[in-house]
């Protein structure tokens, strides 16, 4: 750590920042606790905890499993492109869950959620998959097998 103990570096300034952050957190918690009836508070806490649980114990393990599988199944020249495609398509898909589900749609308001989001997703996925395929073929024809500069040398 370049000879400096990270815990004590610039300690007074950072302690002040910590205190400011703690005050903001306390204000937020007070707003939450005083402004909500019990069932509403329960619903908010469910969503707060639920988000962490869904990410840490569902989404993250699934991503790890898929990455492991891709590492086993795919040839080296395709792995880099597929990783990039997975990052872009995966995050855009998570983003699109509310519109893909269309749960907010109302019969009395046709101007809301008025696109064909499934087709939109297929277009996005198609563009990304074609891009990844072209990039993979380019890597293969150049004889490169995954990885960026500098990393290829370290690969076993």
């Amino acid at each position: 750590m370049k000879g400096r103990d990270p815990i004590v570096s610039r300690l007074p300034g950072r302690a002040l920042l910590c205190a400011i952050g703690a005050v903001f957190m306390a204000y937020g918690a007070a707003l939450l606790l005083t402004g909500s009836a019990l069932p509403q508070l329960g619903s908010a806490v469910t969503w707060l905890v639920g988000g962490v649980v869904v990410h840490d114990f569902l989404l993250a393990p699934v991503v790890i499993a898929l990455a492991w599988l891709a590492g086993r199944v795919l040839p080296g020249w395709a792995q880099g492109s597929v990783a990039v495609a997975g990052i872009v398509l995966g995050s855009l898909t998570v983003l699109a869950i509310p519109v893909l589900g269309g749960w907010g749609r109302r019969s009395d308001n046709p101007t809301l959620l008025d696109r064909d989001y499934a087709t939109g997703w297929l277009i996005v996925a198609g563009v990304i998959v074609v891009g990844a395929a072209v990039a993979s073929v380019a890597v293969r024809s150049r004889g490169e097998h995954g990885g960026g500069r500098g990393e290829r040398a370290r690969r076993r």
């Binding site: 903001f24 918690a29 508070l41 597929v82 990052i87 872009v88 749960w103 308001n109 101007t111 989001y117």
Partner: protein, 389 residues
């Protein structure tokens, strides 16, 4: 050496990718912090714009101000989705890090992990609830506005604590080349399928793409690209509707021949029919309608200046005005039009939109349209204006 038989609970050294590093986390975290700061500040602006008590009046200028701040609010939150996912992926091994041996270090580590738990919970909550709200999907029992606001403070506070704790590592990581491995965990030696630079580029591309595929709801030029936008921008008279007459409980009988606009200030009161309003001096203004959900549209409105109506009942300048709507459902049947908005020459009781008489869903017979104002306060189906000198 890697553990041959992974235990039921993964250990920190179970994760071997060089990509899960402080070098990547600091760079993604920097932009995540920028996005959350933009969303926090624009969120505070929006919250204040909707407050009924404003010690400093919210300005009526520029007319497109709220359109820009609320568009930025949603765009920053949208860009933060890929950034947060990648940031959490990068630091995921930390979830399984062993506790230190000594008691004081345990307490410090416990506090730090508590602040990170609050940060992750708050960040996921803000993005998930904000995205759902922009799609008008409410799968919860809490008040969105109040809870999103409270958790914004909790999250930004936890972010400040997190930056304070990590500042030396952040400075060190940002000041070194991205491939520098001095801060890597000892087990993180596997090169992975892409370089750190490629991982970062993929992250920036995801964040940019996230904005492009959604921002068409507020940037007309992006409509064709924005396949995940919550609105195409189409609607009656060329403008989308946030809340229909049916949803607000307004029926045709309410707006027929019996409709009257009652304008009152103390003992002065007048009752006007829609024909009376059409007979008054008409103004035409181009003003955006910009909703808290992040969509917006520019439109041309024609109607009577609110100030001209207030003059009929001799309301002094600076009077706040309670706007009464015919709507039966929702909490915006009575709204407050602050004095500076009521007096602004661009604030209209609109009767027409883009050259046609207002459609029922746009607030026929008459609606408020004011510059730099959240759409939720551009009250539709107006039947009463009560000046409070």
């Amino acid at each position: 050496m890697p553990i041959r038989r992974p235990p039921l609970m993964p250990a920190e050294d179970w994760f071997r990718s060089r990509l899960r590093s402080a070098a990547v986390a600091a760079r993604v975290g920097l932009w995540l912090g920028v996005c959350f700061s933009v969303a926090f500040i624009t969120g505070l602006i929006s919250h204040y714009a909707r407050a009924t008590h404003q010690p400093v009046p919210f300005p009526t200028w520029p007319s497109w101000g709220y359109r820009v701040t609320q568009g930025l609010h949603v765009a920053a939150g949208t860009a933060a989705v890929p950034l947060l996912l990648l940031k959490l992926w990068t630091v995921y091994p930390k979830l399984f890090a062993a506790l230190p041996r000594t008691r004081p270090a345990q307490i410090l580590t416990g506090l730090e992990r508590g602040s990170i738990a609050a940060l992750v919970a708050g960040a996921v909550f803000q993005l998930a609830s904000g995205l759902a709200n922009s799609a008008q999907w409410y799968p919860w029992a809490f008040s969105f506005r109040r809870t999103h606001y409270a958790i914004a403070w909790l999250t930004i506070g936890a972010l400040v604590v997190h930056v304070a704790v990590k500042l030396p590592i952040i400075r060190d990581a940002l000041g070194s080349p991205v491939d520098d491995s001095t801060r890597d965990r000892p087990s993180a030696t596997s090169p992975g399928p892409i370089s750190r630079r490629t991982l970062l580029r993929a992250t920036w591309a995801s964040a940019a793409a996230a904005v492009l595929v959604t921002a068409g709801a507020t940037v007309p030029g992006l409509r064709r690209l924005s396949v995940f936008a919550v609105r195409t921008g189409d609607g009656p008279q060329g403008v989308p509707v946030n809340r229909s007459a049916v949803a607000a409980g307004v029926v045709a009988a309410d707006v027929g021949d019996t409709y009257r606009l009652r304008v009152r200030c103390g003992s002065h009161a007048v009752e006007l029919t829609r024909a009376d309003l059409e007979g008054m001096s008409q103004r035409t203004r181009s003003l955006p309608i910009a909703c808290v959900e992040g969509w917006s549209a520019a439109a041309t409105w024609t109607g009577v200046r609110i100030r001209d109506l207030l003059d009929l009942v001799e309301a002094p300048r600076g009077s706040d005005v309670v706007v009464v709507s015919l709507q039966r459902h929702g909490s915006y049947a009575r709204t407050l039009l602050q004095g500076n908005f009521a007096d602004d020459g661009d604030t209209l009781l609109a009767l027409a939109l883009n050259g046609e008489s207002l459609s029922l869903d746009h607030g026929y017979p008459a609606r408020i349209i004011a510059p730099n104002r959240p759409g939720v306060l551009q009250t539709k189906w107006v039947t009463g204006l009560e000046a409070r000198p």
